[in-house]
Amino acid sequence: MRKKECIAMLLAGGQGSRLGALTKYNAKPAVAFGSKYRIIDFGLSNCVNSGIDTVGVLTQYKPLSLNDYLGTGTSWDLDDPDGGLHVLAPYATETGGRWYNGTADAIYRNIDFISRYNPEYVLILSGDHLYHMDYNQMLAYHKQQKAALTVAVIEVTMEEASRFGIMSVDEEMRITKFTEKPKHPDSTLASMGIYIFNWSVLKSALIADHADEKSQKDFGKNIIPRLLGENKRLYAYRFAGYWKDVGTIDSYYEAQMDLLEDEPEFGIFDPNVRTYSNANSSAPHYIGKDGSATRSLVSNGCVILGKVNHSILSSDVTVEEGAVVEDAILLPGAKIGAGAKVIHAIVGEDAIIGPGAVLQGTDDIPVVGDRVRYNEGGEK
């Protein structure tokens, strides 16, 4: 294998259990987002747009739809024999098989994969974050600081801070303290879960951490504190753009409703930043004689015979005559029956809202899970 300067390892094995019904058949990175995309598209597109041509995707939870979607990586121009996209699932060895047990363990178990490219740097990413970022700029910063590890950081509010890995930095942005999900945060500088490691540093940290039986094998809880303890050069890289971890139904819903603003903060319409996806071959969408679509996003394969307002329609959605869809997210293949009402709600992939049924959310956003049929009077 030709030596690579930097390869990416994208963690895509988590369940995303807080997304509930949406991750019954899909791993979180494979959950549909923003009408045309699946969440993993953003991380993969960032890699490609940053010139990273070797990406290991670590899978574990419900990988079928994710594997199908990734294919050979051709949709992201990652079907490259000299690198490219590799799906890295847990595997058995002569001493037995086991699941990935923590983020650091997942990378540890793929040391062989990384080693064959003999990279200088390894970029660790999460497959479930929404953002556009040029990793080259972060890598340049990492080199300039002569860092062993650079962590991308974003300012959050004090209320949010206890959900994140929070760090304190000195005036040069060198990390002095790192606490994963602190109860009483003493800073609002949050880790985005994007790390650039010098490979030699990462490799020895992974091996040492693996030998530590008390370790939870987690980057935030174990690896970073270990390197801090060793007095390695750890730096924070400030990121100012849009970044979101859609961990909950509420944030998943809000992040998509934000796309309906006139100038959405998340620039999926920016012609200079392309987001690649494994687009389907569905026909253009059709809006019928009595149909309408206002303040909405619509993709291929949709047939709209009813009224759609302020909603996100993924591909191959059908809205039958007389149906009303408002403030809603309809995932790929969802079908809204004639005369049904879907307001302030999420309808899962290939789910069916029966004719005349009413699905109306209030403060809570009701979710009809993938492949579920919802009829008048409740789910069936």
Binding site: K36, S281, A283, S292, T294, S299
Partner: protein, 366 residues
């Protein structure tokens, strides 16, 4: 065992009356139905029929065609065994050629026929829109023991220039090919490969002959030719009015369900557009719209292509707007075809008539 098929698509004629739409592109790469090019239909039909070797006979100006087809990836034709073969066509230029199956195109590309181990060759043009499984045609071809099986559509309107019609016995055996009639030839046929190779040898000195119009006619009594009645929707693009009609046909649920079949999908080159965005005052009725559009005005009875922008207060009716057409605020378009990258400024009124649309050439700003 199923006989094996080799596909040949002739994409190098431009006999129609499409004006500026085919000034810089062959009919084969004319955008149609929102996100497709005409050549997508024969390519997808071949792919959906299990044909894995396809020769594409190209016109002299083939840039737009190759840009779209690439190496055939979208049709699983970028492959180790077989795949897409780009064949040079012998027609120089785009205009003035009406022959659809020039013998010299086959002579010039004889190697693909010689090397093939297929039993039959499926030959089609690229100006028709339909969805077919050629295996059904092949089954009839085998059953009748025909040398050639020609596809036709019953009671198809006869006003298309250059159309050919089949005269058949009750059992479907073709007795003549005529310039008038009601059983319109779909410009597609299956021929036994050895027979096609024989024609190439026999007629080598008169290579300006057309395989169908000249050679089939001349040999009609010496070979067994059957018609295959295609029952589904078929549309052909040879005039500007046809072009509007075929696009408008896709506004019918019936036509869409016949063309966009889950079991036989029409594939095209995939692009990474954002989803289409509808504004607060978008008023869209009976329209076919792909991704990448921004629609703030009124669109009725129209077909849009990728990246079209309709400003607030604009009204678009009975139109076909190709990729990246921009329609300014207050502008009214009726029965207009805009080629790619056309910009219509604010408060402009352009109206053609039904059956007589106005075509605005590529990259124009009005």
């Amino acid at each position: 065992m199923m006989k094996r098929m080799l596909g040949i698509i002739t994409a190098n004629f431009s006999g129609g009356e499409l004006g500026s739409l085919t000034a810089e592109r062959p009919v084969a790469s004319l955008p149609v139905a929102g996100r497709y090019r005409l050549v997508d239909f024969p390519l997808s039909n071949m792919r959906n029929s299990g044909i894995t070797t396809v020769g594409l006979i190209t016109p002299y100006l083939y840039r737009s065609l190759m840009d779209h087809v690439e190496e055939g990836k979208a049709w699983q034709l970028s492959r180790k065994t077989g795949g897409l073969f780009v064949l040079p066509g012998s027609v120089y230029g785009l205009k003035g050629e009406t022959d659809k199956f020039l013998l010299r195109d086959f002579i010039q590309n004889r190697a693909i026929l010689d090397r093939s181990s297929s039993d039959v060759v499926v030959v089609t043009t690229s100006d028709w829109v339909y969805n077919i499984d050629f295996r059904d045609v092949l089954a009839q071809h085998n059953r009748t023991g025909a040398d050639v099986t020609m596809l036709y559509k019953k009671d198809f309107r006869a006003n298309v220039p250059g159309s050919q019609f089949l005269r058949m016995k009750d059992d479907g055996e073709v007795t003549a090919i005529a310039g008038t009639g009601s059983d319109c030839f779909l410009d597609a046929f299956i021929i036994n490969r050895p027979l096609l190779l024989s024609f190439i040898s026999w007629y080598g000195s008169v290579n300006h002959f057309d395989l169908v119009a000249d050679i089939f006619r001349e040999n009609m009594n010496r070979m067994k030719v059957y018609g295959y009645a295609f029952e589904g929707y078929a549309g052909v693009v040879s005039t500007l009015a046809d072009y509007m009609q075929v696009n408008a046909d896709f506004l019918s649920q019936d036509v869409r369900s016949q063309i966009f079949r889950v079991d036989r999908p029409i594939q095209t080159k995939v692009q990474d557009n954002a989803p289409t965005k509808y504004g607060d005052n978008a008023a869209v009725k009976n329209a076919l719209i792909p991704t990448g559009c921004v629609i703030s005005g009124t669109v009725e009875d129209s077909v849009l292509f990728r990246g079209v922008e309709i400003a607030e207060g604009a009204v678009v009716k009975n139109c076909v707007l190709m990729q990246h057409t921009k329609v300014g605020p207050g502008t009214v378009l009726d029965n207009v075809v805009c080629d790619k990258n056309v910009v219509i400024r604010a408060d402009t009124h352009i109206a053609g008539a039904e059956g007589r649309p106005i075509a605005i050439p590529k990259n124009q700003e009005i």
